[in-house]
Symmetry: C2
Subunit: 221 residues, 2 copies
Amino acid sequence: MKQYVSLLKRTKLFSGVGDNDILSMLDCLKATVRHYIKGEYAFRQGEYIHDLMILAAGRLHIQKEDYWGNLNILNEIRPGEIFGEAYIVPNSGTLMNDVIAAEASTVLFFDMERILTVCPAACPFHTQLIKNMFYTISDKNKSLVQKISYMSQRSTREKLLSYLSDEAKRQNSSSFSIPFNRQQLADFLSVDRSAMSNELCKLRDEGMLDFHKSEFTLHEM
Amino acid sequence: MKQYVSLLKRTKLFSGVGDNDILSMLDCLKATVRHYIKGEYAFRQGEYIHDLMILAAGRLHIQKEDYWGNLNILNEIRPGEIFGEAYIVPNSGTLMNDVIAAEASTVLFFDMERILTVCPAACPFHTQLIKNMFYTISDKNKSLVQKISYMSQRSTREKLLSYLSDEAKRQNSSSFSIPFNRQQLADFLSVDRSAMSNELCKLRDEGMLDFHKSEFTLHEM
DNA sequence: ACAAATCCGTTGTTTTTCCAACAGAAAAGG
DNA sequence: CCTTTTCTGTTGGAAAAACAACGGATTTGT
């Protein structure tokens, strides 16, 4: 577990907690580790979830395939983000989506019950952990709302622009790289890939932006 | 405050907490109340949020108007649900959306800091509250993901069917009423109202469903 | 290094949505 | 009760997206 401490101390969930405290908390929370290779399913629709997971490294996609085989990437999990938190609620049923490793990934599992039940004697940082967890979930919540705001744009062009400009703002630079290939970006925005590709090239020809694979640069107009 | 106890005890946030304990907790959390008339803005984009809010009665819409004046209902808040939780994170900036009362509403405000900081001596039910709060947020998270799954459907027809069938499942009946008028439903699903109205009538003519104002009945095919 | 698979841009056709406009029905307000 | 406003369905034309198909470039795997 020791090897993950340096990773974890940079996550929102453990921010403000010292190295030694993280280590003892991992023990207190009965943390376990699993590795996934690229393309491997971490969870499938219909499974029961018992733990809170945090992505230590790699990239996960929360996705859903509907009756007609259309694939939709509902959300992307980046290192330091948690997932599974919605299924900890008692009687919340089974997982509604698939979780797949977009690249080789390392996932830490925590006993949820132990996070929420305070043990002041054993863990002086437990209160901090609870706050952090709350912050982390709130951030996730916010990112879901953001995704909704991209998707609520009516045209593919507007969806692209709202996503790309947000991403530029998030990465604090007009040049940035996105964690999607074209098909994944299309799935994320719920549009057709070829139409989106077309629109991207139009935007480039109009001088709004430039791109090279997954590297984008937005231009002032 | 006493008058809200019977309401609150039925909410997820206070479930499992006795009447007297709720009352003392409201005091501990420095709860305050505000009423909004139909159409009134509870918050506007750009404001700072300091409290966690819970909707005691009525109905709120989280909505966003873009540069071009398109209105999008990002989410609907029903009684017992919380909101504002994403803006409690330190340095999370200002509210990105408007919050408007879709009908006369009553909102309770709680001091967020006091919720997350455990006071075992004063409030024996504080641990329970933290759990409940976590559950509540998780539920909200889930409903956001659900909304994303509606919006990710490619056609207006599929958006309608996925939303309506989920709503039927949620209300546990093939006959149910939805909390939207046509324009609001169109905004919620991010489609054009007239096209959606058209599609609804087609679905009715094909025998898939019936409706009367906001009352819908889905038919087996 | 080579074969296979994937990724990406491009194009033309079909389908769907958007938009504007209107009229009847229903609701709200005085 | 009457007027005004909102709500809903309906339409036709304009615009956009979806879809299918293809070739070249790149990547992957062996």
